[in-house]
């Protein structure tokens, strides 16, 4: 909290600065006002010994805080320094009314020493000031010794505050010490406004602390026993001063002459108390008016404002001194407000003042004067004198009402500090000028130039400089909380707005051939996903005719031998494979277990049934115990049907479990086949009927695959044949492996059969293999029924193939001789 109090917040940029800085280290704005408030002046004037050490807190602020704590009972909001801003508006009317009531009762009350202290506040103790102090000495005023010990800036601020009508020292006494000696009533109206504004300008706690301080330090300067001094007669009844005016006039003249250089130099503003001291005789100049006219330089109403005069009139100790010396107070109260009113911005400045630096048109007012709160009513009744009490009373009544109104308006404008509302004393001056019907500062003053140090602080220009908002940019916001507004900055930077991507030329360096390939590939991919409608074929087309021709030809070729019932083709010779197979079967005895694998589909039954039936016939002749198994689901059914067909065609009577056993389907594909080759009993424990397979007497000796006397595999698929070869080869032992396959599978299995160490013992293939095997067994059934048809059909097919090949060859040769048909190609 102490640290915070050390820092001073810049009213311009809002940043914190050390307390010892006068200007902001960031924006170079002035941190401390040029004019000090009376409270600050009092704090600065306080002796050092009474200021407790509170650390780095500024002395005057520290003292104020301490005094505020002492007056906490009267202050309800010490911590909130802005409470007075909030409450000001509500209290100002009451305060204004109370003020005038108390002011009436306290007119003539001598001012305290504080008043003179403020007046004496200056940057340097100049010679002129010393003269003024001499004046004070003459009036038995105590010299101000603490001025030399106070900082310059504080003195400067005190001086500036002394100029202000707000700094009328009567305010504290009027408001908080009504019992004290009344002030001269002549200054009541002017000071009322000043006090009102000053009252409103400071927080309560500050006023309370100030009051307490004044009660301790300044009260002794006033003789408590002097009841007459406390009670001031009505202004009209007060005797005018007869002595001292000459001296004061001279001093005032001298002060005015010396004041102008201050204005020109722009340094510390002159002490208005001195000026008033010089002007006061003239202002009240009913008694020695001629003297005053000679002594006073220009008319005072054109030079000084009312506030200045008020301060000076209320110069502490003056009335007190006069009373003490038996002198009468100058009877100038009636003129005082007039003087104060004329002390407003010097509307018509005299030549001597114009020569001192004021512009000729008289509209330019010194800055310190413009910035100061202006008196309210400037109707200049300077002609009124103290001899006209009725007129004075009337004016007082009018002035009182006007002050009530003007005070309210002024108070409304007054409480807000400059840094808070941006309105300064200049605004108040403008309001007053407008009230008077005078031209405003814009009209009276030339266009001011912004100082160089202030230009960088122009946020708007610095931001908008260089940004040109085009008309196109002033679009109307379509949506959102800013809907309907023009020129709204986009939420996203322009670079982030969606836009159509730029087109880049990415042509690859490819040859025409590559492009053609790419197009072909693209076309293929596109056509792959297209559904091509089937071409509508004509009911009678060359393709249909050719297909029917071949079908009928083949049908006739097959049917003719069957109808004719005589062998048209000779029997084929006995093949080596058929002979080897028959020899293997011939070595079988009755009851020998033979494993027959039926692994072909129903579509191939027309070919394989004939060959397998011939083998089965031989096995049945030999009386072997046939064990049927299959690696395809339909194989078991084919095996049952094959047994039945063989029984019917070859007149056998093979019965289930007596002569043969169907183990059914071996699940698991290749793995199941391997399992069956390794452990047949475990793999297929049951028959296709669900009975225990291996409990049959014929299979009692069979524990492994090699225990079968022969293994016959009938299949039309080369994969199944190869699986049987690969998986059972290691478990066959000496058991022969016969393969009965279709004609289309023979080429794939020949490498396993036609080699020095064949993996297949015998390979019978196709209808020719069956017919050949029948020769080994003496059977002729296949030969009699099918061989002739098969042979004629084969001959027909070969003939058709040859005819078609020759026709395509001729067509190709014909197209080759025709130039226009070369590229087309094709066939029948």
């Amino acid at each position: 909290m102490v640290a915070e109090m050390d820092d001073v917040r810049c009213p311009m940029c809002g940043r914190l600065n050390p307390a010892h800085l006068e200007v902001c280290q960031y924006c170079e704005a002035r941190l401390k006002p040029l004019r000090l408030s009376p409270e600050e002046q009092e704090e600065n004037e306080a002796p050092e010994e009474i200021r407790p050490d509170t650390g780095g807190v500024t002395d005057w602020l520290r003292s104020l805080a301490q005094e505020g704590e002492e007056a906490a009972s009267r202050s309800t909001s010490e911590d909130d320094s802005l409470d007075w801003l909030k409450e000001l508006k509500g209290e100002q009317e009451i305060e204004a009314e109370d003020f005038f009531e108390r002011l009436d009762s306290t007119i003539g009350e001598p001012d305290t020493q504080d008043w003179s202290d403020r007046i004496g506040g200056r940057e340097e103790p100049l010679d002129e000031e010393r003269k003024i102090e001499n004046l004070f000495d003459e009036r038995a005023l105590p010299p101000r010794e603490e001025d030399e010990t106070q900082p310059e800036w504080l003195l400067e601020m005190r001086a500036s505050y002394a100029e202000s009508p707000l700094e009328a020292p009567i305010e504290e006494e009027c408001e908080e010490s009504p019992g004290e000696p009344p002030l001269p009533q002549a200054f009541a109206t002017e000071d009322a406004a000043a006090l009102q504004s000053a009252e409103a300008a400071y927080p309560d706690w500050y006023l309370d602390s100030k009051e307490a301080k004044e009660a301790e330090e300044e009260q002794p300067s006033i003789a408590p026993e002097d009841e007459e001094a406390k009670h001031i007669l009505p202004i009209t009844e007060q005797p005018l001063p007869e002595e001292g005016f000459e001296g004061r006039e001279e001093e005032a003249e001298w002060v005015l002459e010396e004041w102008i250089p201050y204005e020109e130099e722009g340094t510390a503003e002159p002490s208005l108390s001195e000026e008033f001291q010089a002007s006061q005789p003239q202002a009240s100049g009913a008694v020695e008016e001629s003297k005053l006219e000679e002594a006073s330089p220009p008319p005072l109403e054109e030079v000084f404002d009312a506030s200045t005069l008020a301060e000076d009139v209320f110069a502490p100790g003056e009335g007190e001194a006069k009373q003490a010396t038996g002198e009468e107070l100058p009877s100038e109260p009636s003129a005082a407000p007039e003087v104060e009113q004329t002390g407003l911005p010097s509307i018509e400045l005299p030549d001597w003042l114009l020569d001192s630096g004021v512009s000729e048109n008289g509209l330019e007012v010194p800055d310190w004067l413009l910035s100061a709160p202006q008196p309210l009513d400037v109707a200049a009744p300077l002609e009124l004198s103290v001899e006209e009490p009725e007129a004075v009373a009337k004016i007082e009544a009018e002035e009182r009402e006007e002050f009530l109104e003007a005070g309210l308006s002024e108070i409304e404008a007054q409480p807000s500090p400059d840094w808070l509302e941006g309105t300064g004393e200049g605004v108040q001056a403008e309001q007053l000028l407008e009230k008077e019907g005078l031209p405003g500062p814009e009209e009276r003053l030339e266009q001011a130039e912004i100082p160089a140090w202030l230009k960088p602080m122009q946020p708007i220009e610095s931001v908008t400089k260089g940004i040109v908002i085009e008309e196109d940019d002033a679009r109307v916001e379509p949506a959102g909380p800013l809907a309907g507004l023009k020129g709204v900055l986009p939420a996203e930077p322009e670079i982030a707005l969606p836009r159509e991507p730029s087109a880049y030329n990415l042509k690859l360096q490819v040859t025409e051939r590559q492009q053609a390939h790419a197009q072909t590939l693209k076309k293929l991919i596109e056509e792959e996903g297209l559904v091509k409608p089937l071409p509508q074929e004509a009911f009678v087309s060359p393709q249909h005719i050719l297909r029917l021709f071949i079908a009928f030809s083949l049908f006739l070729a097959i049917l003719f031998p069957m109808v004719m019932s005589f062998p048209m083709v000779e029997r084929p010779p006995l093949s080596e494979s058929a002979l080897a197979a028959s020899q293997i079967v011939n070595r079988l005895s009755e009851g020998d277990p033979v494993l027959v694998v039926v692994d072909y589909q129903a579509g191939y039954a027309g070919e394989l049934d004939a060959v397998v039936s011939s083998v089965f016939d031989h096995l049945m002749i030999r009386g072997a115990f046939i064990t049927l198994v299959s690696t395809s689901p339909l194989g078991a059914l084919q095996a049952e049907r094959l047994i039945a067909t063989t029984n019917r065609n070859y007149q056998h009577d093979y019965r289930r479990e007596a002569h043969y056993l169907n183990l059914g389907y071996i699940p698991g594909g290749t793995a199941g086949l391997r399992s069956f080759a390794e452990q047949p009993r475990l793999t297929l424990p049951l028959t296709i009927e669900g009975t225990m397979a291996w409990s049959i007497q014929a299979l009692a000796s069979v524990n492994q695959l090699s225990d079968f006397r022969a293994i016959i595999v009938a299949t039309e698929a080369s994969e199944i044949a190869r699986a049987w070869i690969e998986q059972t080869q290691a478990h066959l032992g000496a058991t022969p492996l016969l393969f009965v396959v279709g004609a289309q599978t023979q080429p794939s299995l020949l490498p396993y059969a036609q080699q020095p160490l064949p993996q297949i013992t015998v390979l019978l293939s196709g209808l020719s293999g069956g017919v050949s095997y029948e020769q080994a067994t003496g059977r002729t059934k296949i030969y009699d029924n099918r061989w002739a048809s098969f042979s004629l059909g084969g001959i027909l097919i070969i003939s058709l193939i040859l005819i078609g090949s020759v026709a395509n060859l001729i067509a190709a040769l014909f197209r080759a001789n025709t130039p226009g048909k070369k590229a087309e190609g094709g066939s029948l």
Binding site: Y665, A671, Q744, G793
Partner: protein
């Protein structure tokens, strides 16, 4: 009719109808052909489900868990849990749980297939291909040595040229076009011939298979007509 029962007769009639519906494709895609295909697929799927339940799930999983002793139940409990987790694959929410089972199956299947291929196909085929040019082994062949040697050279040439055809390494040639080396190009051309011959052989085998099936169907029709005619 030659001792055929009603079931056999119905089976023959259904077979005849499906056969004719399939042959109707000769005149183009039609409703009968599609019905025949759908019936075939549906019947196959239904049979597979029934077979899987009666041949595998019920006897090999459910029965041991219900009727088996404690050790059997414990032994089949883990497979049962894994099977349930595999079913959860149908639910997108719990598919991750089934992923464990699928990973197990895929891992075991791949290991089995690769191991069998290496041991049962790759090594034996390399050994046999190299033994073709082994004079000691060639002398043991029943055929003449020149014939065996020629077959060996031919098989070696076919293997090398076929591999060269599928060699796609190339360098930039004229007009920055990729071009294989000349000797690889020659081998690739020879390999292309071998590949064409192989495809021809495969096509011939497919043609024989289909022709045999067509003959069997015609025989079936003729037998049905013969039965009808008595």
């Amino acid at each position: 009719m030659n001792g055929l029962g009603l079931a056999d007769l119905i089976g023959i009639l259904v077979g005849l109808a499906v056969t004719l519906m399939t042959f109707s494709y000769l005149i183009g895609d039609n409703l009968f052909f599609r019905i025949a295909i759908h019936v075939f697929v549906g019947v196959s799927a239904g049979f597979v489900i029934v077979l899987a339940w009666y041949s595998i799930i019920w006897p090999q999983l459910v029965v041991p868990l219900i009727a088996g002793d404690l050790s059997t139940r414990l032994a089949w409990l883990l497979p049962g849990i894994l099977a349930l987790l595999l079913i959860l694959r149908a639910s997108p929410r719990f598919a991750a749980l089934g992923g464990i089972v699928v990973s197990f199956l895929v891992g075991v299947g791949a290991a089995t297939a690769v191991g069998g291929a290496v041991v049962g196909t790759v090594f034996p085929q390399i050994n046999q291909a190299a033994s073709v040019l082994d004079l000691s082994s060639v002398a043991q062949q029943p055929s003449s040595i020149w014939t065996t040697l020629f077959n060996g050279i031919l098989m070696l040439a076919g293997t090398i040229s076929t591999l060269a055809f599928f060699h796609f390494g190339a360098r930039s040639g004229t007009q920055n076009l990729p071009r294989r080396q000349a000797w690889i190009e020659v081998l690739a051309t020879v390999g292309q011939v071998f590949i064409a011959i192989t495809f021809g052989a495969l096509y011939a085998g497919i043609l024989q298979t289909t022709l045999a099936a067509f003959v069997e169907r015609v025989e079936f029709l003729m037998n049905f007509i013969a039965v009808l005619l008595g």
